[in-house]
């Protein structure tokens, strides 16, 4: 059973559909009590950093998430904005993030002269696996994932970086630390590669 955190930042149906395809039951909730009971969490999200943090605050979810994830070490997968919220801050806003990763979210700095690198970075990209973890079982450097974003995570702690991708330069596609997993791309929109990643998440975490 996987609990999908609904904090009003879009696109939850597709994640639930892919879990259903994998035979996994899931619930979509914004109830702090339900989140405190969860055995496996997904923090999705599309939108801006500050509105994401504001919604989490207004729904009274931050302490429940901290309790369940940091204290009880329940596995959580952050997707796109949900992943960025796990960092300390973002150049997109002024609010403090969940700060589970010793990392920050910054805007792509692309050279204006190269026409094909435009923002958002939207589309299918290959990834490079930097850390052999169960989440990536069956995936390799020929795997494609679907990205849609203007911002990406950066960290000085190289041990957190489990996957990178390239768009003008190499950027962080995934940070992981024990039970806390974050991916910048959208597994629920990445066909067989995303199916495999979600399957690994529900099988091994």
């Amino acid at each position: 059973m996987t609990t999908i955190v609904d904090y009003g930042m879009g696109n939850l149906g597709s994640i639930q559909s892919m879990l259903k395809k994998l035979g996994e039951t899931s619930i979509i909730t914004s109830d702090p009590y339900v989140i405190e009971q969860a055995s496996r969490l997904i923090l999705p999200g599309v939108g801006s950093f500050d509105s994401g943090m504001n919604h989490l605050t207004e729904l009274n979810l931050i302490s429940s998430l901290n309790k369940r994830v940091v204290q009880d070490k329940v596995p959580i997968l952050g997707i796109c904005l949900g992943f960025q919220l796990m960092t300390k801050s973002s150049m997109e806003g002024t609010l403090t993030g969940l700060s589970w990763f010793d990392a920050y979210t910054v805007k792509f700095e692309l050279k204006e002269s190269i026409k094909k690198y435009v923002l958002p970075n939207m589309g299918w990209r290959k990834v490079s696996i930097r850390k052999e973890i169960p989440l990536f079982e069956g995936l390799d450097d020929d795997s494609w994932f679907y990205f849609v974003h203007n911002f990406h995570a950066v960290t000085d702690n190289i041990e957190l970086v489990s996957m990178t991708s390239e768009y003008g330069y190499e950027f962080v596609a995934s940070l992981t630390k024990d039970n806390i997993l974050g991916v910048q791309f959208h597994p629920e929109k990445s066909h067989k590669y995303g199916l495999r990643l979600l399957q690994n998440f529900i099988r091994y975490y």
Partner: protein
Amino acid sequence: MFRHRIIPVLLLDKSGLYKTQRFLNPRYIGDPINAIRIFNDKEVDELAFLDIGATIDNRNPNLAVLKDIASECFMPLSFGGGIRNVEMIREILNVGVEKVVINTAAVERPRLISESAQLFGSSTIVISIDVKRNHFGKPLVHIRGGRERTRLNPVDWAVEAERLGAGEVLINSIDQDGMMQGYDWMLIKSVSDAVSIPVVAAGGARGIIDFARAIKDYEVSAVAAGSCFVFQGKHRAVLITYPTRMELETALY
């Protein structure tokens, strides 16, 4: 590595799929769910569904149908047709759609672009620009499914849409739609040169030969097509096809 998107555009009217020629004569193609299952198997980069009757009939998007569609799609999905305000966009995104495609409402109230980009992120907002050339060959933006001409020049409108926060623009040639004679190349080039957000070429593709030309010579981020993915042969028999990854990589790179 960079991979350009090849996007089938499927036209919905209520719950069936249709294909038009020059935005007229919709021909029934089949059931959307069947089509998605085939496109899933073919590992399509992205799918776009456009409800061609919604704006004309002044009806809201059918969220129940859209939810079924989104539930089947394991690829990014865009939806357009009849979208008028941010509440509608929120509902559409919440049923599992990745991006919304806005046309008429953005022309009538450009502020909708900035409002929705602010709330949902630029990358969620696609501005679709339907273009028809007048008797002098001058391209003009059309709205309401091509039925109403505006005075807007497509390049000016694309630049304005970018300024307001659009994440990408879909340039669709009404004259070339369904003709399978190639894109309106001049139009594609003029828009692609003017904006720095992704440009998606649409209207008239014969297939991989036009995709390769648009990407290599016209520097678009993505190409869209309808007929060449749903019709086969000179008698235009209905058959859903999509090039293999190998065929695409050979032709494009």
